[in-house]
């Protein structure tokens, strides 16, 4: 008999598309090899705590083998004409598209995020990054980095667990397009999609040693970034580890880019499109269970609409579907690891202890696996830990403001500076605030929108260097009259991705494409930004700030 209420029946995506081996080796010099230490680690499905596969802990000798393979491959790879390198990248992008369902299911299994996200966000973006940087490979002389920009050499890349394959794409695609070779270490809780990517490289016929994947824990990562024959280090992850890496690299000739934590402010004015703002807030903090470095984890709402917005937000949160990440109707999946769950739990408890009011919708959490209900805290002040520390979980801190100046002051009052969002129907206010906010990405009337053409990166303790867009080429290029300037170091200018997604808005930028420009660079024409004088001023300020 048909049910009497509209309750969605389970709609699980099939796991059968993913063929997992019981254990995986290291991908070095074009083939999978055993590690020297012979010790294996387990990777779990966070939704069930089921062991998915074993993988190899790479030791120093293994890392050395990988770096040497990358060094050997560098000379012939970098000598290829750009159009030839592009062929491989286009091929990789195509294979990713063809295998996108398999990779989406794999990513959901290993990471715990919903299939809706891996299918509709992660995988399309991964393919888009490879397509985008494939297009740059034969146009580097026209990218604004001098007439003959050269690759840097061997890139050591260490990526986090929150977007395993997407962060790989952000790192590998620009490195290969510019003629570098890479050794990449995926996160210890999510190694599988990188290992599948190794297979894709093989199938694409990528020359041996151009991409090497070494798996393991923090010790592997430390060995990789500390290896003397590495020319460039790119890290995405926590600020604490980022600082360690900066210390390791200091005093060497290695270039460094860091993309670290954040405590993004999502600022809602009383004239905002409220229904869409609610969606943006939800997307800002519950996308990927809030395990996003640029998450809008602080909601700054104008006092005059606080109650109305909070009512609407709570009503919307009650419709979020938390549970089996492989179910196509799941909105919020599992937390990636027990360790991360502990941290979220601890910080949420601190929020309560410090006097903020905690609220979660009624939702039944699965009994096995790592789960945390969508949570919001009201009555939060700047003095609370949950307003200052990165929680990296589905926990939103709600603060209020009265005037635009107060909103900016509170938004900037953080050691981080990665992302911010502005919700208002007033275009001039968007432009003004985007200049004042010390965040690498500023979204207008949207949040968590990504596009390979848009530079992404942080201010302050959120790191330095930009990934994505034309800017994302620079960390992997040397030469062009800028040889004396160390590319990625802390002295690097901070480009601001004044991201907007116009929809006819006065901000004039579209599709999350940043009208980003690097301070003090000869790239005067900031395409896409309407107000030349204003953007000129912004550039000046950015250079003063650093």
């Amino acid at each position: 008999m048909a049910p009497t209420a509209f309750e969605y029946a389970p709609a699980p995506e099939s796991r059968a598309v993913v063929d997992l081996a019981p254990s995986y080796g290291l991908f070095i010099d074009g083939e999978f090899t055993e590690g020297t230490g012979q010790d294996l680690r387990k990777t779990l499905a966070p939704a069930t705590e089921e062991v998915l596969a074993e993988y190899t802990q790479a030791h120093e000798e293994d890392v050395d083998r990988a770096v040497r393979a990358a060094r050997r491959a560098f000379t012939p790879w970098s000598a290829l004409p750009g159009a030839e390198r592009a062929k491989y990248l286009f091929r990789i992008a195509r294979i990713i598209q063809e295998r996108s369902r398999e990779l989406a299911v794999l990513e959901t299994l290993d990471n715990g995020k919903p299939i809706r996200e891996t299918r509709d966000a992660d995988l399309p973006l991964v393919a888009a990054h490879f397509f985008y940087y494939a297009g740059w490979a034969d146009k580097l002389a026209y990218a604004g980095f001098g007439p003959d920009p050269r690759p840097v050499g061997v890139a050591a890349q260490v990526i986090p667990w929150n977007f395993p394959l997407l962060m790989l794409a952000w790192k590998v695609a620009p490195a290969l397009a510019t003629g570098n070779t890479v050794v990449l270490k995926p996160a210890e809780t999510t190694p599988l999609s990188a290992l599948f990517f190794a297979d894709i490289c093989r199938r694409a016929g990528l020359p041996r040693g151009v991409v090497n994947i070494v798996t393991g824990d923090g010790a592997t990562g430390a060995a990789l970034v500390g290896h003397p024959d590495v020319d460039k280090v790119a890290f995405t992850g926590s600020t604490a580890v980022g600082k360690e890496i900066a210390r390791t690299v200091a005093g060497t000739s290695k270039r460094l880019t860091l993309e670290l934590g954040g405590k993004g402010a999502n600022i809602v004015f009383d004239d905002a499109p409220l229904d869409q703002a609610v969606e943006g807030i939800v997307n800002g903090i519950f996308f990927n269970q809030g395990q996003v470095c640029c998450a809008g984890s602080r909601l700054l709402v104008q006092e005059s609409v606080h109650d109305e917005l909070l009512d609407a937000l709570k009503r919307r949160l009650a419709t979020l579907r938390v549970g089996d990440p492989l179910d196509k109707n799941t909105d919020v999946g599992a937390i990636n690891s027990a360790e991360q769950l502990d941290r979220i739990t601890e910080l949420a408890a601190a929020g309560e202890a410090e006097g903020a009011e905690r609220w979660s919708p009624a939702c039944e959490l699965p009994t096995s696996g790592y789960w945390f209900a969508p949570t919001l805290f009201t009555g939060v002040t700047q003095a609370h830990r949950i307003a200052r520390e990165e929680i990296f979980g589905p926990v939103l801190s709600v603060l209020t403001f009265r005037t635009p100046d107060e909103a900016v002051a509170k938004a900037n009052n953080t050691p981080y500076g990665l992302s911010a969002g502005i919700w208002t129907e007033k275009g001039s206010r968007i432009l003004k605030l985007a200049d004042q906010l010390r965040a690498g990405v500023v979204w207008a009337n949207t949040f968590n929108k990504f596009d390979p053409t848009s530079p992404f990166g942080g201010y302050k303790e959120s790191g330095f260097g930009r990934e994505g867009g034309r800017h994302g080429l620079e960390p992997y290029l040397a030469g062009g009259g800028r040889a004396g300037e160390p590319g990625g170091g802390p002295g690097e200018g901070h480009g601001k991705a004044a991201g907007g997604r116009g929809g006819g808005k006065a901000a004039g930028t579209r599709g999350g494409k940043a009208a980003g420009a690097r301070a003090g660079k000869a790239d005067g024409a900031r395409s896409g930004k309407a107000d030349g004088a204003r953007s000129g001023k912004a550039d000046e300020k950015a250079s003063v700030k650093r």
Binding site: A2, P3, E7, P273, L274, D275
Partner: protein
């Protein structure tokens, strides 16, 4: 919007400052309607698209298909309509699936005013007097006639036994900012309706912007509409998921502000069961159970019923049939 229950008049008063609670000028209504929160087009469309990715299977699908059938205003609005055609449509509405009498009946038969009496009789003959007869009126579909003609049109339909009146607003007046004229027209048509329910059609495709759709929704609800309806089905752009989602948000907010619940009817262009289920998902996740009934949500459609029945047969038998196994009209 205030969240405590109040009468529509109180809302009007609060927003217009007019102590009688009745808007007295275009300016007063403009202040009210233009004071509503704006709509971000990209965000609205993204939300509607995301809801469209819900995967509705097995028991949920069976529930949704039957619910959708029971919400259909089975429609024929052609110059070539004859009593015979209308009788055939009524027979289909009363027993949609000749091979399976458990299929639910449709909500209403929607015709031009001159066919109302025919439809009433045909439904009685088919043993389904519970199915409503809805009649378009007020110089449908353009709405370009003198007010007394529109009122007479409505009167005739009601006199012939129409249970529901689907009126069109004067889009020209709305776009020119003559909100008071639109408001008063709706009020007067409502007065002619008596006990018949009034659905107010905006013709979203001609209002063009989402801000306009939100304003038209509030204007119609304030003037007394029982239902708000997207389109006539006679222009290039008819019901769309984002436009309908916006109207769902409007009725939700209106009930929160006034305590009065208003129904929503997307019409035109919804032809497949898959599309219909997406609309039901939108209702479910925006408004919840309170609106998941033919009393509060309708589909204005004709060919949709055939696809719903085919999907229903597929679910019951495990096999796809084909258009030869459902009736043509």
């Amino acid at each position: 919007m205030p969240t405590d229950a109040a009468s529509p008049d109180a809302v009007t008063e609060a927003r217009t400052g007019d102590p009688t609670g009745r808007p007295t000028s275009d300016a007063a209504l403009r202040r009210l309607l233009h004071g509503l929160p704006g709509v971000d087009a990209v965000g609205l469309e993204a939300r509607a698209a995301t809801l469209g990715t819900r995967s509705i299977k097995t028991t949920a699908k069976a529930y949704a298909l039957d619910l959708a059938i029971s919400m259909i205003d089975l429609t024929t609005l052609e110059g070539a309509d004859t009593p015979g055609k209308v009788r055939a449509l009524c027979a289909k509405g009363a027993a949609p699936d000749p091979t399976d009498r458990t299929a639910p009946r449709v909500a209403a038969i929607c015709v031009y005013p001159d066919m109302v009496a025919t439809a009433k009789q045909a439904l009685a003959d088919a043993g389904a007097p519970g199915i409503h007869v809805a009649s378009v009126a007020t110089a449908f579909p353009a709405g370009r006639a003198a007010l007394d003609v529109k009122l007479a049109d409505t009167r005739a339909a009601v006199a012939a036994g129409a249970d529901e009146i689907d009126m069109v607003i004067d889009r020209g007046a709305f776009l020119a900012g003559r909100y008071l004229q639109v408001y008063e027209e709706i009020q007067q048509v409502k007065a002619e309706c008596g006990t018949a329910h009034l659905k107010v059609i905006f013709e979203n495709g001609e209002l063009a912007t989402y801000d306009n759709i939100r304003r038209a929704s509030w204007l119609a609800m304030l003037a007394g509409a029982d239902f708000i309806k997207t389109s006539t089905g006679k222009v290039a752009v008819n019901a769309t998921p984002p436009g309908t989602l916006l109207m769902l948000e409007a009725v939700r907010d209106f009930r929160a502000a006034t305590g009065r619940q208003v129904g929503v009817k997307p019409a035109g262009g919804i032809r497949t069961a898959k599309d219909a289920v997406k609309y039901l998902v939108m209702v479910n996740e925006t408004l919840g159970e309170d609106w998941l009934s033919p009393d509060w949500f309708r589909f204005g459609a004709s060919s949709l019923l055939g696809d719903l029945l085919m999907q229903r047969q597929k679910l019951a038998t495990g096999r796809y049939s084909g258009p030869d196994y459902v009736t043509v009209d």
